[in-house]
Amino acid sequence: MDFFLYSKIGQMVLALLAFAAVVAVLMLGARVADRVAGRTRNLWALLVFAGPALLLLGVGLIYPAGRTIVMSFMDRRSEEWVALDNYAWVLNNPESLRAFINTFWWVILTPLVATVVGLLYAILIDGKRFEKVAKSLLFMPMAISFVGAGIIWKFVYEYRGAAQDQIGLLNAVLVAVGLEPVRFLQDGPWNTFFLIFVMIWVQAGFAMVLLSAAIKAIPTDIVEAARLDGVSPWQMFRSITVPSIRPTLVVVVTTISIATLKIFDITRTMTGARFGTQVLANQMYDQSFTFGNNGIGSATAVVIFVLVIPIIVYNVRQMLRNREVRGA
């Protein structure tokens, strides 16, 4: 038994065995459900196929969400009830208000700019000879983690006094053309926008890839018919391309919005949320894990959750509408 519990290879073998066992149980269940005849058949099938997923969802998502909500009404150690005190803090504390304002800018700017950049790029390179290379160039940042991107851009934004050798790319350029070096990460409120730019840099590739695929999926007969009618490129873009890829646009914008609402890695690595760059998700992490204040941390998490709901509702409604249009 020691081999399985205490050696790395043993643990791996154990994990593989456990995985195989789970798969075997599921297959067996499916087979049994298949044999069941009569009225309970559908119920059994549902249980076998949806059961494990529902169980995991319950353990990994529903229960923690419920507990977070409960904890948001309790004190820092989750021992006594404090009613709405935590929410009052989140909605009144100046530091927290700063986080709200910054998060607002993040959520407005990132999806819009990233999607517009991705869309224009996708249209411009569509069908060109160098399309693949151009695509991979913009998509590459997507492969970098937010922390990695933060570290890279921290070097790009690095500031040294005017008398020193600049080691940051941007300031080196500024000084080379005779300007003063800029404290990109230190001077508010602009520093927040320089952070947002990093997120856009990462997300534009994602938008581009999805939108490019959607553009290619536009039926050629529609495009050709439009061409025969002699549309200008702008009319083509406005009346053909955008309406045809609308569902994808919605998915792209909402996905980036949700990713942006929980942004914390970039602020954390680049400014440590100092100099007025605090955002909600980082505040949640700081409060819960660094300061040990479960109450305020949970309340912030609930606020983020509430803010995400409208975006998801919109997303789902759009998807349902598209289904109606398609008659599925």
Binding site: Y6, E158, A163, Q164, T269, T271, G272, T290, F291
Partner: protein
């Protein structure tokens, strides 16, 4: 809390570096001793006589949880090799970067390890108060009484009951400088605070220019940005106010914005916020806030600055090939007190707590509190201990040897890193952010008022 973890991380690097330095700097035989594998002279047969008192166990395992990882974790494991051979107890160490959160989760989940190494007295006390830690055997307390000072013992004591022995220690009150540059300019290592300020003035007069300043500093550290500035303030409180004021301040018996604290912060500001004194090779005082603490001292090597206040673990930051020795490229001196006789010392360290009183657990805990363990660990390299049983000659580098000598100095008044003992909203929150805005230009009074306001009630 990240302060400590980071410190340990860099210490791990220091171990490797110390050996390299020992070899190429030709320091002395000690560098080789560190690399030689624990000074095992018995060639094959292990001498078990030092371990007889711990008893004999039949294949028992004791689990040890800590924030120590990688090289340093291997070094920690090496200290148990002979112990395991002689007593039969296997010590299974597990290090995690999420120690502070995980140890609480494990204890609450009824899944606690046998022993854990706590880098912060604050967290240690919280675990005692929650009823998870048990009192150690009398042997541990006897070991601590013998090897450690009263101050050190008190950090492992909660509400008058002794709960855990200190393990390792680091010295924070160090100023890094270049002995060669000092030699060239005829500067002397200062021994009082006034001397230090006079030297600062002298350097500014001799060399001061847009890119050469007496001091260089940096407090950027990702999510933990600001911690190096808290160390500055703690050192200043110890010097301006003395140990009593320091204790009252840490325990919140005086408010954070007490005039004595304001005075100490301004004392640090006399250097850190003076454009003539900082930030050599980097920029103006505001640049301290965005300069990574890892890089902050490096301008010393280029002659852009002469002084950099940072703990003993900064040794690991010097590039490979730097001669770290009393006559070399860089070395450290003790950040002076107000007079030569006063030597207040800011320290950091770790404490071993036990989650049960099994005999095997107690045997390991007793071994870890002993002078033997401390010597074994220091010989392996990269760390220091304040245990008086440790022979400074065993240290793996000159800086660590100096650190041990300071830690063992009977005149030294040692105080533990204050931000690690304050509630974390302050110690890892408002204190950090307050220092960042202070460096960034805020008035001292505004900064301390803001920190005081964040102190949790009750």
């Amino acid at each position: 809390m990240t302060t400590k973890r980071r410190a340990m991380g860099t210490l791990a690097g220091a171990a490797a570096l110390a050996m390299t330095l020992g070899a190429c700097g030709g320091a002395d035989e000690l560098g080789g001793g560190g690399g030689g594998g624990g000074g095992d002279d018995t060639a094959g047969g292990t001498d078990c006589s030092p371990y007889e008192d711990y008893g004999s166990f039949d294949g028992e395992t004791v689990s040890l949880f800590s924030s120590i990882r990688e090289v340093e974790a291997d070094q920690l494991q090496d200290t148990f090799t002979e112990f395991t051979e002689c007593t039969g107890i296997t010590v299974e160490h597990n290090g995690s970067g999420e120690f502070e959160q995980q140890v609480v989760v494990q204890a609450e989940g009824g899944n606690a390890p046998d022993l854990a190494i706590f880098p912060q007295p604050g967290l240690f006390a919280r675990m005692v108060e929650s009823g998870y830690l048990v009192e150690p055997s009398e042997e541990v307390e006897a070991n601590v009484d013998e090897g450690w000072s009263e101050d050190w013992k008190s950090y492992g004591t909660v509400d008058g009951t002794f709960y855990g022995a200190p393990l390792m220690a680091s010295v924070k009150s160090f100023v890094w400088y270049s002995p060669t540059a000092f030699e060239e300019n005829g500067y002397e290592v200062p021994t009082t605070w006034d001397d230090l300020m006079a030297l600062t003035e002298q350097i500014a007069a001799d060399h001061g220019s847009e890119d050469v300043k007496p001091w260089c500093a940096g407090i950027e550290s990702g999510g933990a940005t600001g911690w190096p500035a808290t160390d500055w303030i703690e050192d200043m409180v110890l010097r301006a106010g003395g140990p009593d004021v320091y204790d009252q301040w840490v325990n919140h018996e005086i408010p954070f914005n007490d005039p004595q604290i304001v005075e100490a912060v301004d004392m640090a500001g006399g250097i850190l916020k003076n454009p003539d004194y900082v930030n050599g090779g980097i920029g103006d005082p505001r640049s301290i806030a965005t300069t990574s603490f890892n890089d902050a001292g490096l301008p010393i090597l280029d002659g852009n600055c002469f002084l950099h206040r940072q703990a003993s673990f900064y040794e690991a930051q010097w590039p490979e090939g730097t001669d770290v020795s009393p006559e070399g490229d860089v070395f450290a001196f003790y950040l002076p007190g107000e007079t030569e006789d006063e030597s207040p010392l800011l320290v950091g360290g770790e404490f071993v707590g036990a989650f049960n009183d099994n005999e095997a657990t107690q045997a390991v805990q007793a071994y870890m509190s002993s002078g033997e363990w401390a010597n074994t660990r220091v010989e392996i390299g990269g760390v220091t201990s304040a245990n008086t049983a440790v022979d400074p000659e065993n240290a793996s580098s000159d800086v660590l040897r100096l650190a041990i000598e300071l830690l063992q100095d009977e005149n030294a008044v040692a105080r533990f890193d204050g931000s690690d003992m304050m509630p974390s909203e302050v110690g890892a929150g408002a204190f950090w952010s307050g220092m960042v805005s202070w460096i960034d230009g805020a008035e001292t009074q505004t900064a301390v008022d803001q920190i005081e306001a964040a102190w949790p009630a009750g």
